[in-house]
């Protein structure tokens, strides 16, 4: 895979026409998927993808490590998303604390937790659940949404996410955990009526 990337970048820098088409075909959907998760609108995501690819071509010579093409592109996309965000009306970012994300009361252990993880795949992988996940991710404040999209949806490493977002690896882990907890909470509220009679953890 790495060798393929190195070759693609080399061909792109040499001006090979086929490389241009391959690059756009391969990376436009990836950048769109990330941007759509951040922006929530197809038109905005397409704009971000176009701006990202334009910047990428203009700055191709600054790509020092061809193997890091994916990370490099997502860093450009992240900046393009932030610019788009600044132009739109947005509620101020809400800092989530572990306290508010943990069920139960202070000083006590966890109350009974409905274990919906054992619901059948037909219930967890259908279109309705997909929409619930999309809404849960969209409701996250941008900084948590970005880390979740990069780490879990794009499946990048902690180090890669830290490099793209410009934060420490510790900060990535903290923000990811809070993002996952918030999404889990929303999914739990949605699935709770469906789990009466579902197995309780032994």
């Amino acid at each position: 895979m790495e060798q393929g990337l190195v070759q693609l970048v080399s061909d792109l820098q040499a001006g090979e026409r086929g490389a241009f088409d391959r690059f756009v075909e391969l990376y436009r959907p990836k950048i769109f998927a990330f941007s759509y998760g951040m922006c929530g609108h197809r038109e905005d995501a397409e704009d971000v993808a176009q701006e990202t690819l334009l910047q990428a071509f203009r700055r191709l010579d600054t790509l020092r490590a061809p193997e890091a093409l994916n990370t490099w592109l997502l860093r450009i996309a992240r900046n393009a998303c932030l610019l788009k965000h600044r132009k739109s009306k947005f509620a101020p970012e809400h800092e989530m604390s572990l306290q508010e994300l943990m069920p139960g009361k202070d000083g006590e252990g966890l109350p009974d937790v409905p274990d919906w993880s054992r619901l059948p795949d037909e219930e967890l992988l259908n279109a309705e659940m997909g929409e619930q996940i999309r809404q849960a991710i969209a409701k996250l404040a941008p900084k948590y949404r970005m880390v979740l999209l990069l780490r879990d949806v794009q499946q990048l490493s902690t180090a890669e996410v830290a490099a793209i977002v410009g934060i420490t690896e510790e900060a990535v882990k903290t923000q990811l955990h809070r993002a996952r907890l918030a999404v889990r909470e929303k999914l739990t509220r949605y699935l709770k009526p469906r789990i009466a009679g579902a197995p309780v953890s032994p």
């Binding site: 792109l12 820098q13 040499a14 001006g15 241009f20 756009v24 436009r28 959907p29 769109f32 998927a33 759509y36 998760g37 197809r42 995501a45 397409e46 993808a49 176009q50 690819l53 334009l54 071509f57 203009r58 191709l60 010579d61 572990l98 943990m102 069920p103 139960g104 252990g109 966890l110 109350p111 009974d112 937790v113 409905p114 274990d115 919906w116 993880s117 054992r118 967890l124 992988l125 997909g130 929409e131 996940i133 999309r134 991710i137 979740l148 879990d152 949806v153 499946q155 882990k173 990811l176 955990h177 996952r180 907890l181 999404v183 889990r184 999914l187 739990t188 309780v200 953890s201 032994p202």
Partner: protein, 92 residues
């Protein structure tokens, strides 16, 4: 380790980012705490579902105008690169 201390570490535990000693403490707690087991299961499933998540919409095909804009940027960058390379060769 109590439920609250464990709660803060669950994602790192799922992602295998904790030291073995911390993992052992967590596993000891989980043996006797059904709510924490259920919570961990649902957090694990949440992360799995996010990994499988794909946006409901795909990008529309690139319009000709947009494609030309990208191609022009690519060609300009390649020309600029060639002239830099030729410029540095002529100084040798």
């Amino acid at each position: 380790m109590d439920c609250r201390e464990l709660f803060a570490l669950l994602s790192q535990y799922l992602d295998a980012e904790l030291k073995p000693e911390a993992c052992s403490e967590i596993e000891r707690h989980l043996k006797d705490c059904a709510p924490c087991v259920a919570f961990l299961n649902t957090l694990r499933k949440t992360a799995e579902l996010c990994r499988q998540y794909r946006p409901a919409e795909a990008p529309r095909p690139l319009r000709q105008e947009a494609r030309e804009q990208l191609r022009a940027a690519h060609q300009a960058a390649c020309l600029s690169r060639k002239s830099k390379v030729q410029g540095s060769k002529s100084k040798v």
